[in-house]
Symmetry: C2
Subunit: 347 residues, 2 copies
Amino acid sequence: MSQFGTRFFGHEWYRLRMTSSPLIIDNLQYANWSEKIFRQMHEGGVSAVHVTIAYHEQFRETVSNIEAWNRWFELYPELIFQGFTADDVKRAHSEGRTAIIFGFQNPSPMEDDIGLIEVLHRLGARFMQLSYNNQSLLATGCYEAEDPGITRFGKQAIAEMNRVGMVIDMSHSAERSTLEAIEISRRPIAITHANPHVWHPALRNKSHAVLSALTKAGGMLGFSLYPHHLKDGTDCTLESFCQAVADAASAYGAENLGIGSDLCQDQPDSVVEWMRNGRWTKVLDYGEGSASNAGFPDQPEWFSCNLHFGNISEGLSKIGFSSSEVDGIMGGNWLTFYEHAFQPEGA
Amino acid sequence: MSQFGTRFFGHEWYRLRMTSSPLIIDNLQYANWSEKIFRQMHEGGVSAVHVTIAYHEQFRETVSNIEAWNRWFELYPELIFQGFTADDVKRAHSEGRTAIIFGFQNPSPMEDDIGLIEVLHRLGARFMQLSYNNQSLLATGCYEAEDPGITRFGKQAIAEMNRVGMVIDMSHSAERSTLEAIEISRRPIAITHANPHVWHPALRNKSHAVLSALTKAGGMLGFSLYPHHLKDGTDCTLESFCQAVADAASAYGAENLGIGSDLCQDQPDSVVEWMRNGRWTKVLDYGEGSASNAGFPDQPEWFSCNLHFGNISEGLSKIGFSSSEVDGIMGGNWLTFYEHAFQPEGA
């Protein structure tokens, strides 16, 4: 009983502390999960994290990843729990815990079976990329030479994701496929983790055409803190990052912007190999890296873990955002998006 | 929009009709599901049915069966929806619909993986038999020559089912395994579909020792209407059936009794072959039947479909049950059981 006593005492203490703090949401992380990281989320006041639970995993492998998360939820209930709804995120905020929201960077968990979309939504999946770097059954990835757009299966999958309340994520998809997904989807979509191409012309960053169409349709852009997406990479300054956010806010509206840090904290380099190569190639693909720079790049010193969101909100204030705009970008905008996007259509 | 108009009009009409009708729950059916049967549930005023969605299916096959149900839920929302909680059953009753509650007659869907119990609970599984007729990884079935009791894995599975709120069902299990499951489980268990051995000494019916231990621990017995479980089989009279319920009420308390009809309406005989033989034998096993009587037996004429629950409640009244006892046996007792059994432990 003393364990419960401590836990509830902890909640109460954090509830008092947290309700006066703005709500922070990071809409993409893929860390090497541990109690240390869950404690950092807690101490950093992060109320929700959209976590990647599948890169190339098939359905059954994805379920095994869910089982691993269930074990963490059982072991660390004072720190984390599974989030299914916007209300869960509000509850996490009021209790000083972190709602963990599942998502996939590839449609591999649904295999070739449209019925799995609803099953996976029931299990908590709320974001699914229609393609990772390669062509998928649904759409084209940003590393393909040709982009024929959304496939026949892709159109059916978009309709089904719309119906059940699973968000279409085009972070790693190619230009035409992305524009078509925005057009075809009856509900706003997301680019959970990428930056404007105009700021840093990486292949993974997004064109004005994409960002304009995305946000005009009510979609969200999550700003990435992954060095390959940042101007000057690891040496990117906080000021430069915040200026990029400010420029995007001028172009597309601050209410359509949030954070999707792409934080891969504590991951060994074998994991970035898995992300890039899955089981599809015997010839090593370096993705955004190169043979001489194959591993995870170092994070900028002002954002390396969940304790550092305060640096970003300070930077955004300094660059001239109002306090309500800062609160929106740091979490409020994703929360509003969740409120509409996670429920079945018409609910 | 006219479709919705009709649907809500239908709801309203049935809500008025249904709220004055007692709540009926059938805690086991395995019909050849069709719109016809869903309409019979609706017209028969059945507020919840626990449906078998796996006999010998592995996890992925069970998920495919869930996908088929999801499609029915999408096609017939005015008739059925998935039930996860006792509140869902109350809502079904007030709306004149039927809550469909998933369960397994075998632990095959969880394979050898304890983490799948929580995943399957999330997908809606609320009952799981620890064994069908044979030895399983967890317990012994009633057709085995030896019953060594609950296995090492079985003890872990019981603890996990208790934790997440999945009911242990011992309908097809052997005597010692059943008594041990009742003893080991921290929460009441169920025998969803079987009858007292003293009334009809079939191998599948349950001894006084089992029924006494089951009900003393707060567990439920669902009376079966499957002819092989009935005295005089297809020719069993309604009076004989109701007398068996009355005798059980005297011995174990009316509040621990309900219906689990085992209705296999419209199934072809190939299905009873699957139920009995799965993939485990090349030599045909006839289970409760025989080579000369291998198929599904005919139902008694007073109970052959979901329109006939009124016959049973009338029979129970005639045999001397009070009207509140009849309401309990026809659904109220299962509803009370659901209220406690379907939630995670401590919730």
